[in-house]
Symmetry: C2
DNA sequence: CAATCAATATACTCACCAGTAGATAAAATA
DNA sequence: TATTTTATCTACTGGTGAGTATATTGATTG
């Protein structure tokens, strides 16, 4: 008698007949591919200078196909920005629930924050200025950025409370850190020799430690 | 005998007849007015979204008048950026020739740097990304920014040498400082309650001092 | 005074690009 | 098998905005 191996429901890994959920996943994948191509074009040329025709061409498809997956150009941008914001938000939540002093938690978060800012969607968050969005989207964008900022301020305040951070002005400290760690979204070259991890660590060390000597 | 006061060449302060040099100055003033209106529009809406028609309208003139004073839209932007860069360059030269430790000179320069970045033309330097420029202009732009960056690195290196700055990685220190002090070009509101001087001082103190407590 | 130059305007051209109409074909569903 | 749904295309519309052609007027110069 043959072994009972061949009776499993149907391997069908390469079948051209897709189930409903498979089709939904196909669609989601294509949508993601559009967003990735778009965010790269936006980052490379700026939102206004990047045309959806070019995005489509970079995927070997036509512009109406993009409209089949996304409503309009602004929605494409908004989705890209939201992906970046979600990554930042998640990092903030992780840091908030982590053990250690305020300084430790802040440091861990900032490392992740800096890395996200050197990634496609994170760069887009930094490089997208509110002027290009509709008032409605701009409001939501601002609110989500504010959440991240508040998380940072919270960590700084806790660090001050537990003595692991110097008694600085919380608001300006958060601005200064954000600036130092957002800036790589402008200058860091993903193709270059500097790895995001290293950049993040060096910048965070300098931003937290300062330049004034300690003794 | 009367005093010899009334014999001066001719006051003529309100004469409608302008000399050649006066006409040249008129022209230069109008050119400046165009640049100022343009840089504000660029800062408010972004280069691509700001049309020269709008810039002209904001001055109560027509677009061809702008072309009478400047060659094309890119040249308008380049002139704006150059004004900002010149301010930064001058600040760097002043700081380089000032007395005091490396730390002192760096600090003085950074205060000025941050203020320039909150001014019309300085903001434009920060907000203009190379992708919007022709390759030629982008090269020149990069070179001039590099000069400023090298001045900063020089001051840091000197500070390390004379012991007034901790032995940090010079390149990353300069990136971190630049980021922290460029960022206000994105968020500072000239109409708001925060005065550039105060912002600059707070940010510079945090950037140089860091967040880690000293004892 | 005639000829030229400077400053400005109106009214265009041309290219690009977001977004749409409508066709087609394949797959899914009834 | 007939009908509907999905994915995709080609070909368009409509608006916007950079840059130009050309006219006008007033001042400058020979």
């Amino acid at each position: 008698m043959p072994k009972s191996v061949a009776i499993t429901p149907a391997p069908a890994l390469t079948s051209p007949f897709r189930s409903k959920s498979e089709r939904e996943q196909d669609r989601a994948e294509k949508r993601e591919a559009v967003l990735l191509a778009a965010v790269r074009m936006f980052n490379a040329r700026g939102y206004h200078a990047a045309s959806l025709d070019d995005v489509a061409a970079s995927l070997g498809i036509s512009k109406p196909t993009i409209y089949h997956y996304l409503g309009n150009k602004e929605q494409v941008l908004v989705e890209c920005v939201n992906r970046g914001l979600s990554m930042l938000r998640e990092a903030a939540d992780v840091a908030a629930g982590a053990p250690g002093s305020g300084h430790d938690r802040l440091r861990a978060f900032l490392l992740r924050y800096a890395c996200i800012n050197m990634d496609d969607f994170g760069r887009c968050v930094i490089r997208t200025s509110e002027e290009v969005l509709s008032m409605d989207s701009a409001t939501r964008f601002r609110a989500r950025k504010r959440e991240i900022d508040e998380a940072v301020r919270g960590m700084i305040a806790q660090g001050i409370a537990d003595g692991s951070i110097a008694p600085v002005d919380v608001r300006f400290a958060s601005f200064a850190l954000a600036g130092a760690l957002n800036w790589p979204a402008r200058w860091h070259d993903p193709e270059g020799p500097l790895k995001p991890d290293e950049v993040a660590e060096k910048l965070v060390d300098i931003a937290l430690g300062g330049l004034t000597p300690r003794n």
